[in-house]
Symmetry: C2
Subunit: 214 residues, 2 copies
């Protein structure tokens, strides 16, 4: 089973690495990172670089595609090379998925017209403008399209996919292997749960990619 994760300038690392860490452990899986041209791609804050080992055109028909998000998605909303690859890969994929603002690219490629989908909470309006119906769930399934909410939600989505692909036992074994027994010290991981002043801080973080000193 071949999993393709497209990278691009200013992607968010955890969007890609969460699903990678789950799906790469499926029996017989290969995860390939691809970009318009092979080579180094930097994250949104520029502090981390990951390698795309192949060009998008080298991997036209993966079984699973996982489109990560990041600020760089905005520059790709009319990029026919990226959107055409997504559209073509979706034709033969078993699963077409996204994490965070990666769903903006699925929508821009025309895959989410009138469909339920999710994305990072800060860009729900953008997703709707691109034709999808935003729903406030962590993982949203519509046929073979699965979208996940912001950044860390790709781990949950990875496990949902793992169960569909290889069964509950394998998915649970992966969860155990990556010791995903979450114990966040706070309960402020969604706009519905965070206090207003925390939401305000997080909204301001969107401008600089760092939380301003409070």
């Amino acid at each position: 089973m071949e999993v393709a994760i497209p990278l691009f300038d200013r992607f968010t690392a955890l969007d890609a690495v969460g699903p990678y860490e789950v799906l790469s452990r499926l029996p017989g899986a290969t995860v390939t990172f691809a970009a318009k041209s092979p080579g180094i791609q930097r994250t949104d804050n520029g502090m981390l670089a990951m390698e795309a080992s192949v060009a998008l055109s080298d991997i036209p028909a993966p079984d699973v595609l996982v489109v990560p998000g990041g600020f760089g998605t905005r520059a790709l909303l009319e990029d026919e090379e990226m959107l055409g690859w997504v559209r073509q890969a979706h034709e033969t994929s078993t699963w077409t998925t996204s994490v965070c603002t990666g769903s903006l690219l699925l929508a821009a490629a025309g895959l989410l017209d009138g469909m339920e989908a999710t994305t990072h909470w800060a860009v729900r309006d953008k997703l709707e403008k691109l034709g999808a119906r935003y729903v406030e769930r962590r993982v949203v399934e519509q046929g073979k399209i699965v979208t996940a909410a912001g950044v860390s939600s790709g781990i949950d989505m990875g496990l949902v996919l793992a169960a569909k692909i290889a069964g509950d036992d394998v998915a649970q074994a992966i969860q155990l292997y990556i010791e995903y027994d979450p114990q966040p010290p706070f309960d402020s991981g969604s706009p519905a749960k965070a206090p207003p002043h925390v939401l305000d801080l997080a909204q301001r973080a969107g401008k600089t990619e760092q939380v301003p000193a409070s």
Copy 2:
């Protein structure tokens, strides 16, 4: 504030990327990936490469060090270049931390003698042989040394550190920004919670880095 994350051949990506995704969002933070020599380092399964932008010797005194795990730690348990860097960085650090089998390197460097620490559940014996006292908690604090359990626990540890460094409001805003509102589809993320046949599958995954077909 400078955060250093050492990379090495056969590291586990999420061990490094979880804390990176949290700590890079702290006000004024810089996260630097380093290795014995700058350049590409591959993960345990070889499917992902990340770039170390500097040499360890270029970043001798970070404020925070985060040592990730992975199968590659075993080859470093007597590596004086890596262990010497950890020891030296610890002398002036504010926080010295590890994720997963990264704690084996802290222990091998002599930092955990007789202290409580955690690691991936599969290597608790190895950690104890290196002089630490294994405790079954997700994040273990001993003065300025903080160790986290397997792979995904680095996200939780990152948030614990973020709160200590910049206060609860900032940590909560980061949690919200990365939408860390975990909803795993199963509750098998620790040996205490997983059914025996799942534990068996996960233990067998340790040999091949993939879960065998069940």
